[in-house]
Symmetry: C2
Subunit: 215 residues, 2 copies
């Protein structure tokens, strides 16, 4: 089972590493970090450099596609080799997935038209403008398309998908091995429950046009 | 504020990336991925290659040390350049931290003698044998020493530490930006609640000598 995780400059590392840490534990999993060109890719912070081990043509028929998001997502919205690869590879995938604003890339490539999908809470309107039907759940399945909310939700997406692919026992084993028994010190992980001034400030500074909808 | 994240071959990537994603969001944070020699470092799975941007002598006085764990931890238990760097750098740090079996490395370097600390649930006995006082909490503070439980707990550790360093508002903002509102699809992230046959199987296959203690 080949898992292809797409990389691009200024991706958000946890978007990619959350699902990677989980899905790489599936029996028979082989993971490729794929980019338009193989070689070093820098994350959004700029301190982390990850090697893309494969170029797009090297991974033509993955079983699972994972598209992360991040500030660099905005450079991945034009038609071109990445979109062509996504569309072609998607024709053969059992599962096509995204984390955070990675769903905007899938949508821009035409893969989420009319489909229920999610993204980072700040980008929900943008997702709708790209033809998907935005859903505020943390992990959204629409057939073989699996989209996750912001950044850390890729862990929940990975575990849910692990259960679908290999069964509950395998998914629970992975959860126990990574000791995923989350105990956040604050209850601020959702715009519904974070302090309002933090939510409003983040909306005001967002790179996404936001029309005032909450949640 | 300089944050030094130690890398070594066969580290567990989420151990490092969880705190990185959180702590890199602190005002003024600069993160260095540090290894015995700068250059490519392969993770435990073998599919991820991260560049260590700095060697140990390049980061003599970090403000925060983060030591991840992983199968490669066993190769970091002997005295040598890594332990020397840890001991010397620790003399000036406001915070010295670990995730998962990274605490075994800190303990082997002599930094956790008599201190309350935690680690991956499978390695608690080993931590005690190295002179620390094992505590089963998810994040354990003993003065400036902050240790986290297995793998994914580094996110909780990072947020807790972010609050101590920069205040609740900053930590909550980071939590909201990474949408850390965890919703695991199973309740199997702790040996207390995972199915017993999974816990027992994992203990039986563990690389750590386990004396039968639960939790």
């Amino acid at each position: 089972m080949q898992i292809a995780i797409l990389l691009f400059d200024r991706f958000t590392c946890l978007d990619a590493i959350g699902p990677y840490q989980v899905l790489s534990g599936l029996p028979g999993a082989e993971v490729s970090f794929v980019a338009e060109r193989p070689g070093p890719i820098r994350d959004e912070v700029g301190s982390l450099v990850v090697s893309a081990s494969a170029g797009l043509p090297d991974v033509p028929r993955p079983d699972v596609i994972v598209v992360p998001g991040g500030p660099g997502q905005r450079d991945q919205m034009q038609d071109g080799p990445v979109h062509e690869w996504l569309r072609t590879a998607d024709q053969g995938t059992p599962w096509t997935t995204s984390v955070c604003t990675g769903s905007l890339i899938l949508a821009a490539a035409g893969l989420l038209a009319g489909r229920r999908a999610t993204t980072h809470w700040l980008a929900m309107d943008e997702l709708g403008q790209l033809g998907a039907t935005p859903v505020t759940d943390r992990v959204v399945f629409d057939g073989k398309y699996v989209t996750a909310a912001g950044v850390s939700s890729g862990i929940d997406m990975g575990l849910t998908l692990a259960g679908r692919i290999s069964g509950d026992h395998v998914a629970q084993s992975i959860q126990l091995m990574i000791e995923y028994d989350p105990q956040p010190p604050y209850d601020a992980g959702s715009p519904d429950r974070a302090p309002a001034e933090i939510v409003d400030g983040m909306r005001a500074r967002s790179r996404f046009a936001v029309t005032g909808r909450r949640g």
